[in-house]
C-alpha cells in the first residue's frame, strides 16, 4: 500500500520567505509526527498530532514554526520568515493508533535550503 508521502521533496527559499511543507500520512493512521534532521545529525522531534489535535509541540524551535492537521489526515508544517538555520530535512511520520503508536512510518522528507 501507499506509504507516507511528502511534498515538495526539495524547496529552496530566500531568507525571510514563508514556506509550507505537506505530509500525507498512511490512510487511517491516527498519529502524525514531524521531525527536523540537520545535516549529519539524527532526526529531532518537532510536534505530534493525534487526529486533528496537536498534543505536543515542545520541539518546535521558535514561534515561526507552525503545524496543523485540520481534518485529521493531511498535515502542513509552515515556517514563517525563514532563516538559514532552518535549512534541514523535515520528516513526517505516522502511526496507526495507540496500540501501535510506537511503530512510526516515515516519509522521504522535504529538503529545505534557505539562502
Amino acid at each position: 500500500g501507499a506509504g507516507v508521502s511528502q511534498s515538495p521533496r526539495y524547496k529552496v527559499a530566500k531568507r525571510g520567505q514563508d514556506v509550507a511543507l505537506r505530509c500525507d500520512p498512511i490512510s487511517g493512521h491516527v498519529s502524525l509526527f514531524w521531525y527536523q534532521q540537520a545535516l549529519g545529525q539524527g532526526p529531532e522531534f518537532l510536534t505530534y498530532f493525534q487526529n486533528e489535535a496537536q498534543l505536543d509541540k515542545s520541539g518546535l524551535p521558535s514561534d515561526r514554526f507552525f503545524a496543523e492537521r485540520p481534518e485529521g489526515s493531511v498535515s502542513t508544517l509552515k515556517i514563517q520568515r525563514t532563516q538559514q538555520e532552518d535549512s534541514a530535512v523535515y520528516l513526517c511520520a505516522s502511526s496507526l493508533d495507540e496500540r501501535e503508536m510506537e511503530t512510526q512510518y516515515f516519509g522521504p522528507g522535504t529538503r529545505l535550503l534557505v539562502l
Binding site: 522531534f45 505536543d56 520528516l91 495507540e98 510506537e102 512510526q104 522521504p108
Partner: protein, 115 residues
Amino acid sequence: AQSVTQLDSHVSVSEGTPVLLRCNYSSSYSPSLFWYVQHPNKGLQLLLKYTSAATLVKGINGFEAEFKKSETSFHLTKPSAHMSDAAEYFCVVSLLTGTASKLTFGTGTRLQVTL
C-alpha cells in the same frame, strides 16, 4: 531523560563479513528501543524494535539486535554484509508521554560496504 549514544559515526566492512553497529542507551524506565535505516533520498525504514519481550530481536534483511540491560546496550549485528546494506543507521529510544511516543534518535552510523 532518555538518550542513545552510537559509538561509531562510520563503519566500513567488506562484503560477506559480519556487521556490528554499537549503541548504548540511557533510560530511567524499561525502554523501547529501535533501529532504523536510512538510504539516500529515501525515508527511514524500521529494521527492528525491542519492547521488553525477547531480548534477542530479529529484524528485516538478516539484521538482529540484543538488548543487554547490564551493559545498557542494544548493538545491531548481521552475519554477512551485502552491498545493499550501505546506508545510515540510527539507534532510537522511545519516550512515552501521555499518548505520544516521542522518538529520540542517535547521531547515526554510516555503514560502508566494500568489495
